[in-house]
């Protein structure tokens, strides 16, 4: 159990607020990168902020067949993503909330938000949304075990059961000793990111053809503030994945004395350095997603399991590299 010190606590909350503020920026970066590669000017970086702002000032329209599930889903989605974010460390300080076993709770919260979204999609009674829900549940049923497996491997490698210690407290010595495993896991998680966030080799977020959509087709009937919340929770989810990957892809020097778990001492510059690196890493991952989207075409639906197999293979290799 981690005993937070006041300064750490403040830093944790500051990091959380930073996450909440910057999450929608990732979509802007992805779109910018895609536009630049294609030789276009592209949308403004802050486009999603403008969209959310605009949507929040509108009224919601609800389908006649829908029940309260349809209305709960957006709120539940944001709430679950927020709760998950509470457990993720950022910038070398422990998360706001941390307890042994939260590495299982975090994926469960993500699953809960997806569950609510699928219920809402089925609630409309539309054939398209039902189709989208079916695909989403199929692929996530394959993706979730891999995510949990990855986290379990991480937990085994660090012999800890809290995300704050698994990801945040990664001392440089451990990382240097086991770096092949961390890199393999980062690759696996990156593939999972593409699948879970409906990015291009799996799903095309910009398509206009409902038949080929997965995520977008599920939120067709939402409007106004509801749609704004859904967009925001999607960006939070992307942020969460980027956070996990950057947490394992770069070793941390163990500033704030957190790695040694003894001294409360620490300095603001080192925290700023740590958080800054992490932030830069997250932005780089977003840019990488943009590059992948520019370089690849969407895969046929039946090839999506191959991407997941690839992710699973990398995760297995990472686990096997720990074999002694």
């Amino acid at each position: 159990m981690i005993k937070p010190y006041p300064a750490q606590y403040c830093a944790s909350i500051a990091c959380l607020l930073l996450s909440l503020l910057l999450a929608p920026l990732l979509f802007g970066i992805i779109n910018r990168v895609k536009a630049k590669v294609a030789g276009r000017q592209g949308r403004p970086l802050l486009q999603l902020y403008f969209d959310i702002n605009k949507l929040l000032r509108k009224n919601s329209v609800y389908p006649q067949t829908s029940t309260r599930f349809f209305r709960i889903a957006p709120v539940a989605g944001v709430a679950a993503a927020l709760a998950a974010l509470l457990m993720l460390p950022f910038g070398g300080v422990p998360a706001v909330l941390s307890f042994p076993g939260d590495f299982i709770v975090m994926p469960a919260l993500l699953a809960f938000s997806r569950y609510m979204l699928i219920l809402a999609a089925l609630d409309t009674g539309s054939a398209f949304e039902g189709m989208g829900a079916a695909r989403e549940s199929l692929f996530s049923a394959m993706a979730e075990p891999i995510l949990i497996f990855c986290l379990m491997v991480l937990a085994y490698a660090s012999r800890e059961y809290s995300l704050s210690l698994i990801l945040g407290g990664l001392p440089a010595t451990l990382w240097l000793a086991e770096w092949p495993m961390y890199l393999l896991l980062a690759i696996a998680l990156f593939l999972l990111l593409l699948v879970e966030n409906s990015r291009i080799p799996v799903d095309d977020p910009n398509t206009h053809l409902e038949l080929t959509m997965i995520h977008e087709v599920m939120i067709l009937d939402h409007s106004g503030p509801d749609l704004a919340l859904l967009e925001y929770s999607a960006s939070l989810k992307l942020w969460i994945f980027c956070l996990i990957i950057s947490g394992i892809a770069i070793p941390q020097a163990g500033v704030w004395g957190f790695a040694e778990r003894s001294s409360p001492a620490g300095s603001f510059p080192s925290f700023a350095l740590e958080a800054g690196t992490m932030l830069l890493m997250i932005l780089c991952i977003a840019a990488l997603v943009g590059c992948v989207e520019s370089a690849m075409a969407r895969l046929r639906l039946e090839r999506v399991p191959q991407v997941l197999t690839l992710a699973g293979s990398f995760a297995c290799l990472a686990a096997l590299s720990l074999w002694r």
Partner: protein
């Protein structure tokens, strides 16, 4: 792969071994011949570099000569031969008997099996053998899998070559004893073997107008 210092030659050895496992799995997943040949070339180059990392004797020139020979043959000459043979055949998509996803999963099982077997067989006098054993057997396993699951004669040659790479890997630690004339004659044999097989594939294409081994259905009881 774990518990070794980052920048020592041992650390690099493990990195290369890890990369060889990755090339094995990629070969199992590959869906185009061109990709296969490039992967084989990459694997050959990685293998060719290994003698440099394992050598512990006094003479400085010996490992370089050996590495150059194996790097040149496995990394350049053999892939070039295969590439030339492939160019003489018409383009055809690979249609394996077993899908690539399943192949990769079986390959992973092979890796696990090799790790288990390495633990089971125990240590040897020269610890290097135990260290290369899992990677080597994974490569051998991947080669056998390629031979069994592929439908065209050319792809079966790829499998044979990967199999031989695995055997070579098991033998590399012998470099420390500077007594490799036998390995060289074995290499020569394999080279001739690939050459003969390549000629046979061209004959098969000329006679059957395809390199699909499914057409071999006349001789049976």
């Amino acid at each position: 792969m774990s518990g070794v210092p980052f920048f020592s030659s041992m650390g690099w050895l493990h990195v290369i071994l890890g990369f060889i496992v990755l090339t094995d799995l990629s070969l199992l997943a590959a869906e185009h011949r061109r990709v296969c040949i490039r992967l084989i070339a990459l694997q050959g180059m990685l293998l060719g570099a290994l003698p440099l990392l394992m050598h512990t004797g006094e003479t400085a020139i010996y490992p370089w000569v050996v590495a150059a020979i194996f790097f040149g043959t496995k990394g350049i000459l053999l892939p070039w031969l295969l590439w030339r043979t492939m160019k003489q055949l018409p383009f055809s998509a690979m249609r394996p008997y077993v899908g690539s996803t399943v192949c990769v999963l079986i390959g992973l099982c092979g890796f696990m099996l090799s790790l288990w077997l390495a633990g089971r067989l125990g240590l040897t006098f020269n610890a290097l053998f135990s260290q290369v054993f899992p990677t080597s057997f994974t490569t051998i396993f991947a080669g056998l899998l390629l031979i069994v699951t592929q439908r065209t004669a050319l792809n079966q040659i790829f499998g044979y070559l990967v199999l031989e790479n695995g055997i070579y890997l098991l033998n590399v630690p012998m470099i420390q004893y500077e007594n490799l004339w036998l390995e060289l004659s074995i290499l020569l044999d394999i080279l001739v073997g690939i050459f003969v097989m390549g000629i046979a594939v061209l004959h098969i294409y000329r006679v059957f107008e395809s390199t699909d081994v499914d057409r071999f259905a006349v001789l049976r009881d």
